[in-house]
Structures are given as structure tokens and as C-alpha cells.
């Protein structure tokens, strides 16, 4: 449905590409890059923005594989191998912080007993650390620690990764991101898809023509597959995570027990991310984090890191894991992926349509390789996959997602004409300009796009003040000609609030009160939705 705030325009001729990839998560953007390195051009059609689904809604954990040694050795081995490749090819997206698996008084000792051998069998280095030493390494750990093992876990920035994957695809093969572009149907002639029907809030309805069509829609893969008569066995599992105000640990901290709620704490630059919960979903309508999920994470996490019970949280967020398969217990379902060729008669019998789903952030490259191999074979493209060794270029415009980058730039340069617009994270006007100039023409929400591509809105004020300053700066730069900028501002604030609502108590509640005093008490933004600018 087109947004009535925009004038609808339509492409006179449909955009064409070799491959249309539906979904701009880490899988879709990694496929675009893999194909580009084989000389194959793609359009990535994403209904929101890159990494907007599960790709951005997770811990940002680069798994060593140790999490899966007991439940899924194959997945554990894949994680280990892929982690090693990513450390070499995309080091700028990774903080190689290492990880610990720890148990506390009351945890099942048998799991800890079998853990080293299971790791060893999967080729994962797990070294037992004396409890005293582990507490010295990570003072936030519980004094009731019973065992600790170090493993090669790391953290990875999924937003920067997706942006750089897409940028590399553009560089190599002129591949394009069509953000805010929803695929509403597939036009089928005989046994082939001839075009995808798309709708965009500004461009209206249009068609995209390609030789091959890839469904990488994550949790939405079932809906897309159904457009061509296919079915994707998926379990949708909602996970809620919490972001702390401070970074509580240097390393990834995992609970040494079978995977459960609130048992992983991952550093994310200046913060720590605690999670997750697992709630089976019937649909995808309501995926905001809830208070009950927040409480569950804290209750389960605090025995491992006691400060989690009293620390200040600045945000919660939720993602929906698309787990391949249809098992009963979400964490028992394999984290492996499934690649579906819809040419199969039971999958719609469509020759040029492929679905890739499931998997993990850590194994995205392998998923892209397998998918690209299959699709290239259909196209007669023989160029081999290069992503095992090719370096992922670090693109300037996506570097602002890195915590501390903006602050360092500000300290080093201190330019008078480059004022700080986000005072929590010291994001300056120039970073905003660089991001805005990097956005695809399909972008419709500048503030949301800036938020995804920078630290704006990630600090203690959660965007309350900087969003207003940035809106004013965008007006100065002629980004808006009417009230549209204010609508984007209210949309941005609404969406930030979803993540704040379940963690509002203590200091963060006071912060939220200040924010509302500004947005409603001073600017009366709540009146915008009903255009109540006149007296009644």
C-alpha cells in the first residue's frame, strides 16, 4: 500500500537484473556479494532496510561453535570453520574478544564434564580456566562460579556486515539494493517466474524482471515461497535481547549448560547484549519485546553475571529466528539451513526459483555459497565462489556503526563546521551527510536509515535529542520541503519506544520522562498524527 504522503511514480520500463534476491538480511546481501564476485548482477528487494529482521535482531555473536557441541555437532563444525574464514575476510566487522563458558553452583555438573571432549570432537579449542583466574579475567562473573572454559567466540556487527556485503556487490557488479520494496507476487509463465510484482511507498507498484529468483526472506520465506506454490518448513522462534548501559564483560559469557533463556552475554562495543528468550510464534504480526521476556532474561542471566539484576538497561529488542525444520523444541531444531529448489514438482515446479532459509549469522557465507552455486549452475555460470578468501572491503559510509568511531573522529579532527548532532555517541554532521549520500534512492525514512547506519539513537538518550537535531540539520540541507521530516521524526521515535517500553524503570524511566517532556511537552509531536494545529 502506497503511503499517501508521497506522490506515486512508476518505472516506465521495469528494472532488470540477472538475479532478483528477495530479502536484504545477511543471507540476501551475502548472496548478492557472492554472485557479484562471479560477475552476476543482482537486485536485492528488501521490504524494510538491510538487516531489519533476524540479521540485526540477535546478539551479534560470532559463534565458536561451542554452543552447539552437544546438540548439533555439524552446526558446531560449520560455525568453527566459518568463524575462521570471517576473521580473515571481514576483520573490520569483528571484535575477536574470545569467550567463556561458565557454570555456577546449581548447574548440572555432567554437562561441564562432557563439554571439553565434545568441543574437541568438533575441533573447537576449549581450555579450562581455574575459577580464580576466570574471576580475575571477568570480575562481573558470579562468585558462585564452579567451572570456566575459554573458547574462541567473538562479536560481529551485523549491520556493518550487511552494508559492506551490499556495497561490495554494488562495486563488483552494479548490484542494487531496493529498500522499502515489498514483493507482493510472482508472475509465472509455464514453469518460470517472468517477473516479480513490487510496491514501494514512493515508486508505487512496479515489476522487476530477472533470470533467476532467490527467496532469502528469512522469517517471511514461507510467504514468498507460497507465491510460486512452494512450501518452506519453518519454525518461527522469537528471541528477545537486552542492551545494557555499560559493557559488563570483556568476553562473550556463555552459561555452561544446555542452551536456555538468558544464557549468553555478548559485548557490543560499549554495551553488553543479554539474551535470549525463545517463544514460538504463529504469525509475524507482533514482534515487539515484552516485559515478561525482559524479566525472564534477567532472572536467568543474573546467576551467571549478578550485575544483570541491578544494572541499567537502555533498550530491548526482538528478532524472529527462522529455524529450518519443524521440530517441537525450538532450541532442538537444527540451526542448519535448508536450500530448496522449487523446480521440484512438490515445490511448485518452478525452474528459476530457489529458497534459502534457516541458518545462523555465523554461517551466512556458507549459505550464500551453496545458494549461489545452485543458482549459477542453473544460469550456466561457471565462475567459482571467491568468498572463502576475498577480502570484504570496508566502506566508509558503513563505518559509523562502530562504537567509538565517531568519538575518535571528533577528537582527532575537531572541525568547527562539523558539529556534534548526537551527544551521547558524538556523531557529527559530516557522518550524517556521508550516510545520507550513501543511501539508495529507494530510501523513504532518513532518520531510520541513519539510525541503522550509525550510533545515532544507541546511547543513553535513545535518540530523544539527536533525532530532533538531525531533523533540523536535514531541513537545513533541503532534505524535506514540507512537514514530512516531522512525520519521519515521529515514526523514528515511535519505533525506538518499542524497545524502551519494557525496560523503563529507574534512571532509564527518568530519561524517558525527559524525552516525553521534550517531544510532547515542548514540541507537541503527539498532535501531528491528527494535524491538530488549530484551536477547536
Amino acid at each position: 500500500m502506497a503511503d499517501p504522503r508521497h506522490d506515486a511514480v512508476t518505472f516506465s520500463t521495469p528494472p532488470r537484473c540477472d538475479v532478483l534476491i528477495i530479502g536484504g538480511g545477511v543471507t540476501g546481501t551475502a548472496i548478492a556479494r557472492d554472485l557479484a564476485l562471479r560477475g552476476v548482477n543482482a537486485i536485492v528487494a528488501e521490504w524494510r532496510d538491510v538487516a531489519s529482521g533476524a540479521s540485526g535482531g540477535n546478539h551479534g555473536l560470532l559463534h565458536s561453535g561451542a554452543r552447539y557441541v552437544a546438540s548439533d555437532r555439524e552446526a558446531a563444525v560449520e560455525c568453527r570453520e566459518e568463524g575462521d574464514i570471517l576473521r580473515l575476510t571481514a576483520p573490520h566487522c569483528i571484535e575477536d574478544c574470545g569467550g567463556l563458558f561458565v557454570s555456577v553452583v546449581g548447574d548440572d555438573p555432567d554437562y561441564g564434564e562432557s563439554f571439553p571432549a565434545l568441543c574437541s570432537a568438533a575441533g573447537i579449542t576449549a581450555k579450562e580456566i581455574p575459577v580464580e583466574e576466570a574471576l580475575a579475567m571477568e570480575p562481573a562473573l558470579s562468585p558462585k562460579l564452579t567451572r570456566a572454559f575459554s573458547v574462541p567466540d567473538g562479536s560481529i556487527d551485523p549491520f556493518r556486515l550487511c552494508l559492506d556485503l551490499m556495497a561490495h556487490a554494488t562495486l563488483e557488479a552494479d548490484s542494487q539494493l531496493f529498500s522499502h520494496t515489498k514483493i507482493t507476487g510472482l508472475e509465472i509463465s509455464g514453469r518460470r517466474v517472468v517477473a516479480a510484482k513490487a510496491v514501494h511507498p514512493k515508486l508505487g507498484e512496479f515489476r522487476i524482471e530477472a533470470k533467476q529468483y532467490i527467496n532469502a526472506a528469512g522469517a517471511w520465506a514461507g510467504e514468498i515461497a507460497a507465491m510460486a506454490g512452494g512450501t518452506v518448513p519453518l519454525v518461527l522462534s522469537k528471541g528477545t535481547l537486552l542492551v545494557t548501559h555499560d559493557r559488563l564483560a570483556t568476553r562473550v559469557i556463555n552459561r555452561l549448560r544446555p542452551a536456555g533463556n538468558g544464557d549468553i552475554l555478548v559485548p557490543g562495543g560499549t554495551v553488553s547484549v543479554l539474551g535470549t528468550t525463545a517463544v514460538r510464534l504463529g504469525g509475524l504480526d507482533s514482534i515487539s519485546p515484552t516485559i515478561a521476556e525482559v524479566e525472564e532474561n534477567i532472572r536467568e542471566g543474573a546467576p551467571m553475571v549478578p550485575a544483570l539484576a541491578s544494572t541499567r538497561y537502555i533498550r530491548a529488542f526482538a528478532g524472529v529466528r527462522p529455524l529450518a525444520g519443524s521440530g517441537s523444541e525450538d532450541r532442538a531444531v537444527s540451526r542448519n539451513f535448508s536450500l530448496i529448489d522449487h523446480a521440484r514438482p512438490d515445490q511448485g515446479g518452478i525452474e528459476n526459483f530457489t529458497t534459502i532459509t534457516g541458518g545462523k549469522l555465523t554461517t551466512h557465507r556458507l549459505m550464500a555459497e551453496r545458494t549461489s552455486d545452485a543458482v549459477c549452475a542453473k544460469m550456466g555460470v561457471t565462475a567459482p565462489c571467491r568468498t572463502r578468501t576475498a577480502l570484504l572491503p570496508a566502506v566508509a559510509a558503513s563505518s559509523w556503526t562502530e562504537p567509538g568511531r565517531a568519538a575518535r573522529f571528533w577528537l582527532e579532527h575537531h572541525e568547527p563546521e562539523n558539529p556534534v548532532l548526537c551527544e551521547c555517541e558524538l556523531v557529527q554532521k559530516r557522518a550524517i551527510e556521508e550516510i545520507v549520500s550513501s543511501l539508495p534512492e529507494t530510501e523513504v525514512s532518513l532518520l531510520q536509515a541513519i539510525g541503522l547506519r550509525s550510533r545515532v539513537g544507541k546511547g543513553p538518550c535513545q535518540g530523544a535529542f539527536c533525532s530532533v537535531r538531525i531533523t533540523s540539520a536535514l531541513y537545513d540541507a533541503d532534505a524535506f520541503t514540507g512537514p514530512e521530516g516531522l512525520y519521519q521524526l515521529t515514526d523514528f521515535l515511535r519505533s525506538r519506544f518499542k524497545g524502551q517500553r519494557p525496560i523503563l524503570w529507574g534512571t532509564q524511566l527518568a530519561q524517558a520522562e525527559l524525552a516525553e517532556a521534550l517531544h510532547c511537552g515542548l514540541y507537541s509531536l503527539e498532535h501531528l498524527s491528527c494535524k491538530g494545529e488549530e484551536h477547536v
Binding site: 531541513y475 520541503t481 524503570w505 527518568a510 525527559l514 515542548l522 503527539e526 491538530g532
Partner: protein
């Protein structure tokens, strides 16, 4: 809470009243109390006063499915009394509310901070080009209210280096309803260029006549016969109406101020003006102090205050609690224990569970339930429990901490502060006189 209070020195003789909290409600209570000859101690921080626009609201908005502005605030107040019988406005008559405003605005005028009140609501600018319905505005902003009502050609000025104030943005937002707004960006005179400008520094500069003349000389070439000129609220901290009059004379056209993003000059003006007024009238001011303990014994309130620890024990026969809400520390919200009043643990009208504090939609027109949580009071603003029993003798509450109101959404913050302070002081006067 009471430990410490016994070991620290007492301040002077017991006063009639100690006011805890120096936001608008606390400062207004101080003015009303000295106007009635009471001996007053005022302690606490200024809270959110620096975050005000300078507009003094009475009742601007209705909180129905379609938020809309009230042109006549007392019509809205009548409706509010029906819907929220516990609302602070339900504890006063229209005439009492008018009288509280009159007494407060007269004091401000005497202290050279004149306000304009028409009796109806006015629409005042925000720096995003939105408007807000308010009841009294600083005289330096009134030409802007008049201009918004008739929308003649106006020049809108912003300054290179002043963030979150875009004349171009305001003109774009208002374009449809006010096509003749012409934005320009100017360089501010006489401030060393460091990349950013701050409203307070600009305002203090413009108190210097030579700088004001330079500013006029910079603006003049841009005038094209406009009916008025709008600029950010920077026309001096002290004597702002004289600064405004002088600039208008130099330009030959009325000038008006538009609030900036907080912390802004209008709040600083209010605070400095009221501080000076209270000091002149002999109020003992313990500004920017924290309260470390509060109790009542031997018919006296004891309040332990200090900058980083309890340093002084303040004593008074009565106490006005004007400690504000969560931001200023009057209320606390704990993940496990829920919402509480910070100093005395007074009964609150708090919902049972955290899930009832906020609505899902940030901008839900009905507002968030947590904003109506607060201290329940009787018709004289004395804290009571849910059965209506008085919490303790001599105790009053005023301002944002009160229950059953949502000042943010109602645009009622100043009105609630003034009427609660005014009625509490009147009741206290009677209590002290033994009536």
C-alpha cells in the same frame, strides 16, 4: 533517613514552612508564602525549569482519541473535572486558578519579566515549526503569537552554529498554512567562533547595547517590508523586554522570540528572576542541594540537606513537597518494588504491575498511565491515602508530583504548579494561624 539529621547543625530558628523542590511549583509556593508574610526556607534543585519554553500553560490539549487544542482553557477544565475527579484542577475553582496566575504574573512583572495573558489560549511556536496551546507567554514572544494568528509576511532568522533551530525547517513545516515565512541564516556577532553557539551565551552578549546594534545592522539589509521578525529566544537574560523593544526600534519592525531546544534562555530567566525575588524577600535559599533525610518530630519537620552529604538541618512547622516526578527524583520506579514517593513513602495511586505503566504506542493520544501516578491530596493539597486519611499534619504537596494529571499531554504543567502552590499556601496560612 533520619540518621545524620541529629548530628548535623540546625539552620537558624524553625521557619513557618520549608519548601522542598525549586522547580516552578516550589518557587511559586515561595513567592505566595512570602507575599503572605510567612517565614520561608526553600531547598532543592531547580529540576526541569531549564527545560521550559517559557510558555506558562493552563490546559492546552484534550486527551481523547483525536488530541486537539482547547481555545478556551476553562471549558477544558470543566470537562477535566468531570473525567478526573482527583485532578488538581478539580480541587480549585476557575476564579482561584485565575487568581493564582494573576498573583504569580504580577510578581514576575515586578521583577522585570513581564508576561502576556489574554484569558484564552494562544498558539505559540516550537523550534520545529509545530505550535503549542498555552495560556501566558513572555512578552518577548507575544508578537509571534499574534503573527501566527494572522500570518502576515514574516522574516524568520536562525544562526550559523545554533543547533536544532532551523528557520528553513520551520518555514517548510508551516508552508501550507503560512506561505509568507521567509527563512534566513545569519552569523552571530561578537562571539568567538568555536563551531557551536549556545543560547545562554548569545543572550548575555545581546545585553551589551553595541552587540545588539551590530545584530540589527546584520538583519536590516534582509528586511523586505515584513510585518514581524522572528528569532531564537536569545534577547538577553535580564531585562529581555527592554532588549526586545530596543531591537524592534532599531529594525523598525516588531521582533519576537521563538523558544529553542532546551536547556534554553526562557527557563534561565524564570529561575534567575524568581531566585532574586525570593532572596530580596528574605527567603533562606538552599538551591541545588540534595535532600538526605526528612522526618517530622516534636511538631517540626526536619530536612537534612547538602551538596554531597547531609550538611544542614532545616526546621519548619509546615512542609510543601514540590519534588517533581521521576526525572527530579520526587518519585522512584523500581523494577521489582514498583513506584514509590522518595522522601516519605507517601501513598500513591500506582498501578499494580509494570506492564500498566506505558501504552504500546509512544504517541498514544490518551497518554501513558504512569504519568498520572502521584501523590493523592485533599482539596487543600494535603497528602492523603486512598481512604482519604491525612498522611501527617502540616504536610502539603504541589506541582508535578500530584496524582491524576498528565501535564505533558494536557499542557497543564504551569497551571497545576501554580494552583496547587497557591491553595497549599493559603491552607497553610490558616493552619499556622491555628484556624
Amino acid at each position: 533517613m533520619s540518621n545524620g539529621a541529629s548530628r548535623i547543625p540546625d539552620f537558624g530558628d524553625p521557619a513557618d514552612v520549608v519548601i522542598v523542590g525549586a522547580g516552578l511549583a516550589g518557587l511559586a509556593a515561595g513567592i505566595f508564602a512570602v507575599n503572605r508574610g510567612l517565614r520561608v526556607i526553600l531547598a532543592g534543585s531547580t529540576g526541569g525549569l531549564a527545560y521550559t519554553t517559557g510558555y506558562l500553560d493552563l490546559l492546552g490539549s484534550s486527551l481523547t482519541e483525536t488530541s486537539s487544542y482547547y481555545a478556551e482553557p476553562f471549558e477544558g477544565i470543566a470537562a477535566l473535572r468531570e473525567e478526573y475527579p482527583g485532578h488538581p484542577y478539580a480541587k480549585a475553582t476557575d476564579n482561584e486558578i485565575r487568581a493564582a496566575f494573576s498573583e504569580f504574573l504580577e510578581s514576575l512583572a515586578v521583577a522585570d519579566l513581564p508576561y502576556v495573558r489574554t484569558g484564552s489560549n494562544m498558539l505559540g511556536f516550537s523550534p520545529l515549526g509545530t505550535v503549542k496551546s498555552t495560556y501566558a507567554v513572555p512578552s518577548t514572544m507575544f508578537s509571534g503569537v499574534e503573527a501566527y494568528a494572522t500570518r502576515p509576511p514574516c522574516l524568520l532568522i536562525d544562526f550559523h552554529g545554533l543547533k536544532a533551530f532551523s528557520a528553513k525547517g520551520m518555514a517548510a513545516v508551516l508552508k501550507e498554512v503560512w506561505p509568507d515565512l521567509r527563512p534566513i541564516r545569519l552569523e552571530f556577532p561578537d562571539l568567538e567562533w568555536t563551531g557551536e553557539l549556545y543560547p545562554e551565551a548569545m543572550a548575555r552578549c545581546l545585553e551589551v547595547p553595541a552587540t545588539l546594534e551590530k545584530l540589527a545592522a546584520i538583519i536590516t539589509p534582509h528586511l523586505r517590508g515584513e510585518a514581524a521578525v522572528g528569532l531564537p529566544a536569545i534577547l538577553g537574560i535580564h531585562g529581555s523586554s527592554a532588549v526586545q523593544a530596543r531591537l524592534s526600534a532599531l529594525l523598525g519592525v516588531p521582533v519576537f522570540e521563538i523558544p529553542t531546544m532546551p536547556p534554553g534562555v526562557p527557563g534561565i530567566r524564570l529561575r534567575e528572576c524568581l531566585d532574586a525575588l525570593l532572596r530580596d524577600k528574605g527567603v533562606a535559599l538552599f538551591a541545588q542541594r540534595y535532600v538526605y533525610g526528612l522526618n517530622r518530630k516534636d511538631d517540626l519537620f526536619h530536612v537534612a540537606v547538602g551538596e554531597s552529604q547531609a550538611e544542614t538541618n532545616l526546621r519548619a512547622k509546615c512542609l510543601i513537597l514540590a519534588t517533581g516526578r521521576f526525572l527530579s527524583g520526587g518519585l522512584r520506579a523500581d523494577r521489582i518494588r514498583g513506584i514509590s514517593e522518595s522522601l516519605l513513602g507517601l501513598p500513591l495511586n500506582a498501578p499494580a504491575t509494570r506492564s500498566q505503566w506505558h501504552r504500546e504506542d509512544y504517541f498514544a493520544p490518551q497518554g501513558h498511565p504512569i504519568n498520572r501516578v502521584g501523590v493523592m491530596v485533599d482539596d487543600w493539597f494535603r497528602p492523603v491515602d486512598s481512604e482519604g486519611r491525612l498522611a501527617m499534619p502540616g504536610l502539603y504537596a504541589a506541582g508535578g508530583i500530584l496524582a491524576h494529571q498528565d501535564w505533558l499531554r494536557e499542557k497543564s504543567g504551569a497551571g497545576i504548579a501554580l494552583i496547587s502552590a497557591w491553595k497549599a499556601v493559603q491552607a497553610m496560612e490558616k493552619e499556622l494561624a491555628g484556624e
